[in-house]
Symmetry: C2
Subunit: 496 residues, 2 copies
């Protein structure tokens, strides 16, 4: 007689398989697909996500879950998976299949519209798609149910258990410390170093990025690197983790630091336990935790003086004409040059969180019905002028710069800042545990840090909620203090 878990497993494998098809179709949509494939791809993704939803809400899964909850299987993977699947099943059951399909299709069309609207700098191409999508996402929030406010229901998709009020408080405490520091540093830092506007062959950039990812521990046998307009990482499944970067001939730092960032995500995906590949608990427990890895590798590692000292000679080999005369100190300052920029992904560590705060505020306003989609470009530009002190000359550098909303990722942006805060706090813990870590990084050796992350974070997958895992690593709750202390120390030394 098979156990309830043995009867559940084939259903879990089918969920994994359909999910991996969806992941591949999404990756291909952003990286490979020809333009005329867009409409049918949107429909096909919608069909498969509908199938996934049908399978996840199968009453037979509900019955097996009830059996497993009653039986108390002693395997920790099973226990965690029962908790995660219960959450997924209950949430999915609340959303009608019709709505799931409509959202998937609207997301595909909005994403395609975004790829056309951004180069055309024409928000009107995207607007009707966003209106439909935000309307559908409000329906989704209401179907899921919420206590405090509607946005809570969507935030919970990405950061389970976190509320809008908590995030608002976290942003408030962070910006209180950060805003005076950031503007003081910005005023002192002066214009961007000239080196950043030289020409760097994109093919050489990509070959360098490919080697750098592998040097940091990314396993090319279990993943691949490509280019896309907006860098991202996606796990197709446990043996196939794909990341992208963007190679702009006028911006060497973009490709290199997007690559280090995405490699952080990819290392987390590649570090999840293989044995849990088909289990609901075999995944990263929150986007904030996911982002903690990418931002730690990008900033605490990648932008440290130790690591920039390691990178510079390697880059000089690739770009002797452009970088041959560069001194280590000059390079370190260039990599950490803070500036008032319109673009989140090219912004520095200090202002990055102001860019995120702007998006979070606009999302909440849209969800509180305090803002119309049609007023979004203007509201964006006003907020940018107020927070960063710049006004976008075109929507291409304003509201159209990120693909997230067009992909239906609403409730997603605040996790970037949660990731920033976790990154600084986790790195402090790693520094305490690993004597000589900065010397490792000066040799380009991240292997002890990666082993530490595998041991303290990756191997747990979704064995417990992100908040609990964070507290286990940190020995207490997350606060903005480690990040503020790190930023204050680093940028005071650099510029004040």
């Amino acid at each position: 007689m098979p156990t309830p878990f043995e009867r559940l497993l084939p259903k879990l494998q089918e969920l994994t398989d359909i999910g991996s098809a969806c992941a591949l179709m999404s990756w291909d949509q952003a990286v490979m697909m020809p333009p005329a494939g867009a409409a049918q791809r949107a429909r096909a993704l919608s069909t498969l996500q509908g199938l996934l939803h049908d399978r996840l809400t199968d009453p037979a899964i509900g019955e097996l879950l009830a059996e497993l909850e009653a039986s108390g299987d002693e395997d920790l993977d099973v226990q965690a998976s029962v908790r995660v699947l219960r959450r997924d099943h209950d949430r999915a059951t609340k959303i009608p299949g019709r709505l799931v399909r409509a959202i998937a299709e609207a997301e595909g069309l909005a994403y395609q519209a975004w790829t056309e609207a951004r180069p055309a700098a024409d928000f009107r191409l995207l607007q009707p798609h966003l209106e439909r999508l935000f309307g559908l996402k409000k329906e989704e929030a209401d179907a899921l149910g919420w206590e405090g406010e509607r946005y809570d229901a969507l935030l919970d998709n990405f950061e389970p258990g976190m509320t809008t009020a908590e995030v608002e408080a976290m942003f408030s405490s962070l910006t209180q410390g950060l805003v005076p520091l950031a503007h003081e540093v910005l005023d002192a830092a002066g214009p961007a170093p000239e080196v950043l506007s030289r020409e760097f062959d994109p093919d050489i950039q990509m070959r360098f990025c490919d080697r750098l990812a592998q040097a940091l521990g990314f396993d090319n046998d279990r993943g691949r690197l490509d280019t896309s307009p907006h860098p991202f990482t996606i796990g197709i499944h446990s043996g196939d983790v794909r990341q992208t970067t963007k190679a702009d001939p006028k911006d060497l730092l973009l490709s290199v630091y997007a690559l280090i960032h995405e490699t952080g995500h990819a290392l987390y995906e590649q570090g999840l336990p293989e044995r849990m590949a088909d289990l609901p608990a075999g995944r990263v427990p929150s986007l904030g935790l996911h982002e903690s890895q990418s931002r730690m590798w990008e900033n605490q590692v990648g932008r440290s003086r130790a690591f920039t000292d390691f990178l510079l000679p390697l880059l000089k080999e690739q770009f002797p004409d452009q970088l041959g005369m560069m001194a280590p100190e000059e390079w370190y300052r260039a990599v950490n040059h803070p500036q008032r920029t319109l673009i989140r992904v090219t912004s520095d560590e200090l202002t990055y969180n102001l860019h995120v705060a702007l998006r979070f505020e606009l999302e909440i306003a849209l969800f509180r019905d305090a803002l119309e989609v049609s007023d979004l470009p203007e509201a964006w530009n006003d907020a940018m002028a107020e927070k960063i002190g710049l006004r976008p000359p075109s929507d291409a550098d304003g509201v159209l710069q990120d693909m997230h909303w067009a992909m239906g990722a609403i409730g997603y942006f605040p996790t970037y800042t949660l990731g920033t805060l976790y990154a600084a706090a986790f790195f402090d813990a790693a520094l305490r545990d690993l004597a000589g870590l900065m010397d490792d990084l000066r040799r380009g050796d991240g292997s002890r840090l990666l082993a530490w992350l595998r041991e303290h974070i990756h191997r747990y997958a979704f064995h417990m909620p992100a908040k609990e895992l964070g507290e286990q690593v940190l020995g207490g709750p997350l606060t903005p203090e480690p990040f503020l202390a790190y930023a204050r120390e680093k940028y005071t030394a650099l510029y004040l």
Copy 2:
């Protein structure tokens, strides 16, 4: 009250969507996927093909088909789709879902084993997978049922309505005329021109191939070109047709002629009526017809004196050092140099069909239980020695050279020769209809030929069986005579 067809349509769209996910997963498996993704991809493809099978065999489809057959819808697309779906539904209903899943998984694993066995020249890596796969395909044949012999059931997958006996007779009549001609020409042709062994930068080859495909009418907005170990074309769906070629630095002709060949397939896929994208009859009616297009573009067009005169100056621009001194006549002879080669895909027009005959005979022998998989390498080598006069020094250049069997494509090979025969016969018909066609080709202009193919072949999709469509175009049944006459005339002028 919706008509039966209106009730059927959402089910057809779902079939299209799941089918396009499977096509994408297969393409990605051959072109993009990292090695560690193989096992899970095999399982996921198996799961999705099982889903497709479940949907296709849905009794509700059987009921709607019966309604549609009784109601006699006057729309020709609907009529054709009812016939095609009836055939698909009945065939799928005969194969148990368990067997469909097992075959899909075995194919994925065998394909992966082939990608390892070929470079290692080790048939034993592939053998257990092939044994399992051939065993499963025999089960499939028996489940489908057959009258003459078991192989008929699989041949019918690729060439609906054609029997093993008919194909054997066609091969017999063809080889009777071809063998004496081929060997006479081979003896007279001498060694391969030295130019064919020079070095050609693969990146330049690929950029040239990309432009050549577009010059022939391939629409990059509705498809893409990549590289893979074995060139192929796949329609993900109507707006997304993907082809591959292979760029070998030692073999310029391989990339260029594989590209022209695959472009022939891709133009057929891109020429299918957009309005039929979701309909069962919206596809190519047989592989022999599919191959007629690829071989016509490759040989009747691509290897004609007119087209080689067009190609040479363009290639000289790309490869001035290697081709600068080449005379048009010398180039034409190089492109059409017949030789005793071990490799089907690099063989010439004359011996190509002997390579196919070898495979067809081995397949039949396996299916008639007259040959064991373990004896395949030896049987292959013996047949190659007998037919071509060469013995493979390693299985990499013998039984491991083609991926077809490892992908479960059994009954597929003979369609290559049917395609050869159709290509010659169709091109004769086009030459009669289009005065000055060879002058078009001398300018590299295939647009009138493409329009003719669209008009006489592509636009019909699967409105009628391939045999009927062939007879409509040719005004009578297919015979090997047009191909034999073409080959005799061309190669007599060249070498005898």
